[in-house]
Amino acid sequence: MTTYELHYFNAAGRGDMSRLLLDFAGASYKNVLVQNADWGTKKDTTPFGKVPVLVIKEADGSTKELAESAAIEAYLAEVLGLVPGSSPFERAEALSVVSAFLDLEDKLRTASTGTTSEERKTAHEKALAETIPMYLKYQERFVRGSYYFGDKVTYADLKLYQIALKLEEMYGDSSPLKTKAADFPKLTKIVETLAAGKAGDYTKNHRIIGVLKWFKDEWKWGFAA
């Protein structure tokens, strides 16, 4: 049986989605948490000087490693059966949904780059009122069944779930998935169904929040002691 190690900081961040995929699929995996103090030594041992890195240990004892969260997630989705189908087009369609969400995440990061909390608050309030609902509108339209791609859970659905967790952490009851739930019935149903199952179990029992937290009065992420 293949076993996996997910090397990342003691935080959700860019490791959360890979952990969710591994956990949801029932893969044999462990988290190797990189402490900030050890990062200096570890950095150059990684392919591109970054984490997450996925270490794959095959049943025959051979090991290989994969870097970059986008590549790790695409890989895990495929080998763990979380893609709509085996053809290149079907896999690319799932990737397109995830890519649009990554774009939204980038916009939220940009909203926290202002130097004062006033600037950041204004940027996030605009995101809440305009940007996030705009992205979600297209996502709602895309959904093709009980799940994004019909009857089968894919990593597109799990990415939506991870986004829902992040929006909840950042905005609580102001998350547009809550305030405008009536506009997003299909997305809401996917999130609720996943929360009631193995994805919800991951969140309750295995999800790592660690040292990176959202400071709501500062409108940015930061390290908590």
């Binding site: 994969l66 297209y138 339209r141």
Partner: protein, 227 residues
């Protein structure tokens, strides 16, 4: 054999790599250009996520299917046109990991493009070229496993590198600042990939079918502007 339509603005932008893949892969394709002020607003809502590029795959029986998001389009075309290191999920994911790391470097310059004053833009670009780029390229240089990123076979990873080189040429050739040229001695393997691609089909695409004469780098203002 399918043919393809690339729906995007008449600029390299986020369609450059997919056009390059189609050219190098010998595929039959056309550009369906959108004009930002006129035709684009009318079709925006027809795009799955409200964005372009869109790739339309036209099968030999005439059926059409659409794919959105440049990273998904690039992954799809690389696989369909035999520009991946191999057929397995791992091999394809490794190629995507190189592209992802290079795309992260590419994204880091975008902030500089929008800074409000000329002096701020020039300073930000200078820091990018002398500090940010070498930090990323050092890992890329180390990764290369032969004549190409993945040994003996040219793949989408090599073409992504070349696409980044071309974008730097757009911005920095007039000031002699393209970091691939300035720092060439530090990155010999990357330099060799670029030189080799420049001499072949990718270079021919770059010189003859990449730019549509509508936008260009304004050397006085340090920004891209319509021509």
């Amino acid at each position: 054999m399918p043919s393809y339509e690339v729906h995007y603005f008449p600029a390299p932008g986020r369609a450059d790599l997919q056009r390059m893949l189609l050219e190098v892969g010998g595929a039959s394709y056309t550009n369906a250009f959108l004009e930002y002020m006129t035709t684009w607003p009318a079709v925006k809502e027809t795009m799955a996520f409200g964005m372009v590029p869109k790739l339309t795959v036209v099968e030999s029986d005439g059926s059409r299917k659409d794919l959105f998001e440049s990273s998904a389009i690039e992954a799809y075309l690389a696989e369909a046109l035999n520009l991946m290191p191999g057929p397995t999920a791992f091999e394809r994911a490794e190629a995507l990991s190189v592209i992802s790391a290079l795309a992260e470097l590419e994204d880091k310059v975008r902030l500089s493009l929008w800074l409000p004053t000329l002096d701020e833009r020039k300073a930000a670009h200078a820091t990018y070229c002398t500090e940010t780029v070498p930090r990323y390229l050092k890992y890329q240089e180390r990764f290369v496993r032969g004549d190409w990123y993945f040994g003996n076979k040219m793949t989408v990873a090599d073409l992504k590198l070349y696409q980044l080189y071309l974008w730097y040429e757009d911005m920095y050739s007039s000031s002699g600042q393209n970091p691939f040229k300035v720092l060439a001695a530090d990155f010999p393997k990357l330099g060799k990939i670029i030189t080799t691609l420049d001499k072949g089909k990718a270079g021919e695409y770059a010189r003859e079918r990449r730019d549509f004469g509508k936008f260009g780098w304004n050397v006085e203002d340090w920004k891209f502007t319509p021509k």
